[in-house]
Symmetry: C2
Subunit: 416 residues, 2 copies
């Protein structure tokens, strides 16, 4: 893309009411726009990152048999009364609205009820199971405070997969598969090393669950990492067990962390409420055994910024970056500089490399470099009269300090 | 995809409360699920079609310089008060909700206010213009009646593009470009011949606008098509002018139609309300001139079903079909039938052909054919002991009645 055409502008200062690092940087660099606390629009660069994250998640969910669909935001009260989750006393973060005839509706903060009900049309026999259905869809949660940028939103994207299995045994096989898929996701988006599978209590649904917690000062949770075996437990579990459940050690370190994913067994809580049964091999009716698996792509994006950014701006890992290369042309009277920059831009794109080309003629080098650092594209390519004299461009990785000259002819190789 | 794994089932009867043909067929074939009147979930097959439609729209919008972003559903009251569109007396289809502190919020039924306000951060100089920003995002409209299936939803996807131009002259150039892009879209999704550019009044925003109206009995609008020049006008314009504005003829035919798209000038109504100005070449402050361009991908999907379906079910045009080919294996004791079907499935996919492979061993031929007709994939391929004896498969287009035998070796050619 030509940067002269990109409608967003970078800015030196974030909005004065924005306290989180992720939103400050993402707003300054033109990725997002704050509509109100916890509600952000995604501008062209931001949508590209969000889509890349969604595609990583999609690939990993499809690889373990996930089938993508999309449920609705508007929720029918009757479904939520079946599980006793309609009342604001039980669920404290509902957004509610009304039809013209005064019928109350909810805005989905999760989708177990809607999907369990829907599955009654499609599950009859043991032959229909297991089913792994997921969506990447907008959730609404009426948070009383929302000060963590896109890490905790009132309106945000969520990938939620729900598993429908014949029994707990079949369920557990998928649960473990999904745990591995989640590890792949966090590795691919560049925060694998900072992300810990963290044993947690299962809340109202099951005894235990697994959270995926990424260590960062921006975290709202506290986790305890075993110094011996690197497994982690959350606060509630720590209060129950003084020792690591994996290796028995009592040597923990305490870290602030963001919950970037969680997976848990739902058991038959929802299938019971909706009478979601199947006929097994012996002709008997049995309740479907369910599980739930969530990741927030926007939260993940915010966490990546928190974990990887430096003083100068954002640093995107390759798989999520809005572009792979940021080609910067420095102003020159020598027309060959511009002509060569254009050719490199086209050649790289032909090779499948996504390029943001800073073709602006009214900006100085210093300003262009500062903006590039703020935007955080992994590879910066600079072409100037000086580099052209050596038939080269200067290549610098955003995460490293040293730059090197690369012959223009060998440039596409650098991206293989 | 293996049909044995697809979690949706087809059904012989639609839900008893569903009166529209599009929803009846789409529900029976497993594309959508009705949550309540005007609110539908998209199941795996349905999401594939919806995504294909969105991608056609995206390609055409990107080709004319559109930059994709995504705004929010939750709306800040203050923005809508600036244009006097907050009150339920002025806008009669708001869904409203509340934060915990009782601050009222709206659910976006359109996005002029939010985007015009956002653009104040990015538009300063004439050099920043024009800008064409669009999103494919969920709209909420509190319709009192919603009986047209996915053609009129209370929650539905909308592609809305907004243009920001220096003046009316620059605006008009883009307006005409977008009109052409819209024609491309309707042609590509298979309803070009039934869709008329229809002159309409511009409502509160401008004197005239253009609607894109697709002729079908399911239409809620009435249009008047000039029998001489094939241009069309809507009811309001017809009342004003007895003659065709293009050719002067008074020979019109009246048709029911669905409004699948509309484009109109907003002028400076929104830029005035938000004081969205730019500094022109002479250093003077000028109001930005705006336009608005909408298409509902779900409505388009419903309209395609209404226009093209026959007595046996849906007929998808190639560009929007969930799969290109429906490979049906008929039960046989000869294991070579199954082995060959599997090989064809893999080979076609390697060639980039998207295939739904009906590998189910517990269904009879008649049932498989009836389901295939209902689902409506453009090419049906049948492999049986009989076709295999001739080293062939039977190929039939969903929209045609005759079938022909194609040698298996030449099959991939048939999809080029």
């Amino acid at each position: 893309m030509l940067q002269s055409k990109l409608f967003t502008k970078t800015r030196r200062e974030p909005p004065s009411d924005e306290v989180s690092k992720n939103a400050q940087l993402l707003i300054r660099a033109g990725y997002i726009h704050k509509e109100m606390a916890g509600v952000y629009s995604y501008l062209p660069l931001g949508l590209r990152v969000l889509n890349n994250i969604c595609n990583v998640i999609r690939e990993e969910m499809n690889a373990i048999g996930g089938q993508e669909m999309i449920l609705t935001a508007l929720q029918d009260r009757a479904l939520w009364e079946k599980t006793n989750r309609w009342s604001d006393e039980v669920v404290d973060n509902w957004f509610k609205t009304k039809l013209k005839n005064d019928t109350e509706l909810g805005l989905g903060f999760t989708h177990e009820e809607e999907l369990t009900n829907l599955m009654k049309d499609h599950i009859n026999s043991f032959r229909d199971l297991p089913i792994y259905a997921y969506q990447i869809q907008t959730k609404f949660r009426n948070e009383s405070r929302a000060k963590s940028g896109i890490i905790r939103g009132r309106e945000f994207l969520m990938k939620d997969l729900y598993s429908f299995s014949r029994d707990e045994e079949e369920h557990k096989v998928f649960y473990e598969k999904c745990k591995k898929a989640y590890k792949n996701i966090f590795k691919r988006v560049g925060i694998g090393e900072k992300t810990y599978v963290t044993s947690a209590s299962g809340g109202v649904f099951s005894k235990y669950s697994d959270e995926f917690q990424t260590v960062t000062d921006a975290g709202e949770d506290m986790i305890y990492i075993c110094n011996k075996c690197k497994s982690a437990i959350n606060k509630e579990i720590k209060l129950e067990n003084a020792n690591c459940s994996e290796c028995g050690s009592s040597d923990f370190r305490e870290e602030k962390a963001v919950e970037v994913g969680n997976i848990f067994s739902l058991g038959t809580r929802f299938s019971e409420a909706f009478n979601l049964k199947y006929v097994d091999k012996n002709g008997e009716n049995k309740l479907v055994f369910m599980g739930s698996y969530g990741i927030g792509p926007g939260r993940l994006m915010g966490t990546i910024v928190e974990v990887l950014a430096d003083d100068r701006g954002i640093i995107w890992p390759k798989e999520v970056a809005p572009f792979t290369a940021h080609l910067i042309e420095l102003k020159s009277d020598n027309k060959k500089v511009n002509a060569t920059a254009k050719k490199i831009y086209q050649d790289l794109q032909k090779q499948g490399v996504q390029v943001l080309y800073d073709d602006r003629q009214d900006k100085q080098a210093g300003e262009k470099f500062a903006e590039a650092d703020l935007i955080g594209i992994p590879y910066r390519l600079v072409i100037s009269e000086k580099t052209l004299a050596k038939n080269s461009v200067e290549l610098k990785e955003r995460s490293k300090s040293e730059a090197k000259l690369v012959k223009i002819k060998q440039l596409t190789k650098a991206f293989k």
